[in-house]
C-alpha cells in the first residue's frame, strides 16, 4: 500500500479546488542506479478523484510526471463537510486511497 | 599625561585579552575540524590539513600582509610547470565541454573519473550559455579583447594551472598545481579562452 496522500479541498463561490500530493517514486525505467543498472519503471498510471462518490477527475500518468506527483483541479459544486476522495494505481498494482472533507476557502 | 598613559594601557590590555581569547578559540576550532571529519570515498581526512597558502589566507581572511603575499605568490609561480613541447593552446571545443563539467574530486566522484573544469560554475564564457556563475569575473570575449600572443597564452596557462601564483587568496582553485586537471586539459581551456574560433570570442 502506498504512502498517505496529502489532499486539500476548499470551496469558494461554488467552485471546489482540490490539491493533491502523492508520495511516489515515479521511476521512468531509464534511470541508472549507482551500480549502473537500470532501475525498473515504477509509476502511478491512474488517478481518480470523486466528490460524494461521483467522479470529478480521471487522470492517466506516464513516466514523465514528476516524482511525488502534485495535481490541482477544480469542479463546480461542493460544500463544506462533503467528502472528496482520491485513489491512485501504479504499474506494479500498488494502490492508495485517501479522502478529506471540503473546507471553506478564506 | 598620566591619564592618557593609563588609557593606552587599558586599551592594549583589552586587545591583548581579546587576542588571547581568539587564539584559544582558533585552537579549539582547529581541534574540532581535525577531529570531526571522516574519510568518505575518495575524500580522505588528510584534505582538511592546510598548506601554507590555505593557512595564511584563512588566518588573514584572504588579506595577508603584502610581504608575505608576494613571497608566497613567487613560490607558487616558480612551481608552475609549463608544457615541455611549448604548445599552450589545445582544442577549444574540448575546452568548452570541460568548462561545462563541474564534476570531480568530491566524495561522490570515483578515483580516476575525469575531473571537470568547473568554469561555468563561476564564470561567464560562451554567450550561448545562460547558466553561468558570477563568483569569478566574466570571461566573455576574453581572447577577442586581449589577443593570443605567446605571452598571453603563457599567462592564461599559468593562471589556470595556479591562480594563487597571481593572487594569493583568490577563490580560484589551483587546477594544475594540485593535479586536478592534466596538461592537455589546461591547453584545451587556454584555447577556449584565446582561440579566435572559440565560442567565447564570437558574438
Amino acid at each position: 500500500m502506498g504512502s498517505p496522500m496529502k489532499i486539500r479541498a476548499a470551496v469558494k463561490d461554488g467552485i471546489t479546488e482540490v490539491k493533491i500530493l502523492m508520495g511516489h517514486a515515479m521511476e521512468t525505467g531509464l534511470r541508472k542506479d549507482a551500480a549502473g543498472a537500470l532501475v525498473p519503471a515504477w509509476f502511478i498510471t491512474e488517478v481518480t478523484a470523486k466528490h460524494q462518490g461521483k467522479v470529478v477527475l480521471e487522470a492517466q500518468f506516464g513516466t514523465a510526471v514528476s516524482k511525488d506527483p502534485y495535481l490541482v483541479f477544480r469542479f463546480k459544486g461542493g460544500a463544506k463537510g462533503e467528502k472528496v476522495s482520491v485513489s491512485w494505481l501504479d504499474n506494479k498494482g500498488d494502490t492508495r486511497s485517501d479522502e478529506v472533507e471540503i473546507t471553506e476557502k478564506v | 599625561m598620566k591619564k592618557i598613559a593609563l588609557l593606552v594601557m587599558a586599551m592594549s590590555s583589552t586587545i591583548a585579552f581579546a587576542a588571547n581569547k581568539d587564539a584559544a578559540l582558533d585552537a579549539k576550532a582547529l581541534t574540532v575540524i581535525q577531529r570531526d571529519f571522516r574519510d568518505k570515498g575518495i575524500a580522505k581526512v588528510d584534505r582538511v590539513k592546510q598548506d601554507q597558502v590555505q593557512a595564511l589566507c584563512t588566518q588573514y581572511r584572504d588579506h595577508p600582509p603584502h610581504a608575505l603575499q608576494d613571497k608566497l605568490e613567487k613560490e607558487q609561480l616558480a612551481a608552475v610547470k609549463y608544457p615541455a613541447d611549448g604548445k599552450l593552446m589545445g582544442d577549444w571545443k574540448a575546452g568548452e565541454k570541460l568548462a561545462q563539467s563541474g564534476r570531480g574530486l568530491t566524495w561522490t566522484d570515483k578515483e580516476g573519473d575525469v575531473v571537470g573544469g568547473n568554469c561555468y560554475n563561476c564564470h561567464q564564457l560562451s554567450p550561448k550559455e545562460i547558466a553561468y556563475g558570477t563568483i569569478g569575473p566574466s570571461l566573455l570575449h576574453f581572447g577577442k579583447m586581449r589577443g593570443n600572443t605567446p605571452d598571453m597564452q603563457k599567462y592564461v596557462y599559468g593562471r589556470i594551472y595556479n591562480a594563487k601564483a597571481f593572487n594569493l587568496c583568490t577563490n580560484m582553485p589551483r587546477f594544475g598545481h594540485v593535479g586536478a586537471l592534466t596538461e592537455s586539459q589546461i591547453k584545451d581551456l587556454v584555447a577556449l579562452l584565446l582561440d579566435p574560433e572559440s565560442l567565447v570570442n564570437k558574438e
Binding site: 487522470a59 500518468f61 513516466t63 514523465a64 510526471v65 514528476s66 502534485y70 495535481l71 494505481l89 | 561545462q100
Partner: protein, 155 residues
C-alpha cells in the same frame, strides 16, 4: 501484459487480498472508466502520438492558457498549469516533444469539472510543452518552450 491481466482480474472482482480490504472499507478505487493506454503512453514522437489519436496537429488556440516557466531551474520538476475557456471541454493532454515518451499525462474532465489542471512533469532537456484540449469533440493546441538549465555546482 501483466498489467492487462491484472486489470482483468480487477474488473472481474479479483481475489487479491488488498482489494478485498479496500472493498470492505468502502474504499475500492474505481478505474473502470478509462484504461491506461499503454501504446499512447509509449509513443516516441509527437507524430506517432497524433497517429495513434487519429488526429493531425491542430492550430494553436488563443483560448487555451498554458502557464509554464520559460526557464526551469531543474528538469525533474517543471510546473505546468493549463486552463481554457473553450466550451464543453472533455480532455486535456500534456506532451513534452523531446521526452523519450512524449505523452506525460492525460486528464478526462467529467461535466462540471473546470477546464483547469496544474501538475509537474520531468523534462530531460530544453523542449516544447504541447497541450491538446478536446472540446466539443475537436482538438485545440497550445505550446511553449521551456529551457532546462544546468544546476548548481554541476555535481
Amino acid at each position: 501484459m501483466v498489467n492487462l491481466e491484472r486489470r482483468q482480474a480487477l474488473k472481474t472482482g479479483g481475489a487479491l487480498g488488498l482489494w478485498g480490504v479496500f472493498a470492505s472499507l468502502g474504499l475500492m478505487p474505481s478505474f473502470a472508466h478509462a484504461e491506461w493506454n499503454k501504446t499512447l503512453f509509449s509513443a516516441k514522437s509527437m507524430n506517432e502520438a497524433l497517429d495513434l489519436i487519429g488526429a493531425v496537429l491542430p492550430e494553436t488556440s488563443g483560448d487555451i492558457q498554458l502557464n509554464v516557466p520559460e526557464i526551469a531551474e531543474n528538469g525533474a520538476v517543471v510546473p505546468i498549469s493549463v486552463s481554457s475557456s473553450l466550451p464543453n471541454a472533455t480532455q486535456i493532454m500534456v506532451f513534452v516533444d523531446k521526452n523519450p515518451n512524449v505523452l506525460a499525462a492525460n486528464f478526462n474532465l467529467p461535466a462540471g469539472t473546470e477546464t483547469f489542471v496544474t501538475t509537474r512533469v520531468k523534462m530531460g532537456q530544453t523542449a516544447t510543452v504541447i497541450v491538446l484540449v478536446k472540446a466539443d469533440g475537436k482538438l485545440y493546441r497550445a505550446a511553449k518552450e521551456v529551457k532546462v538549465t544546468q544546476g548548481g555546482c554541476g555535481g
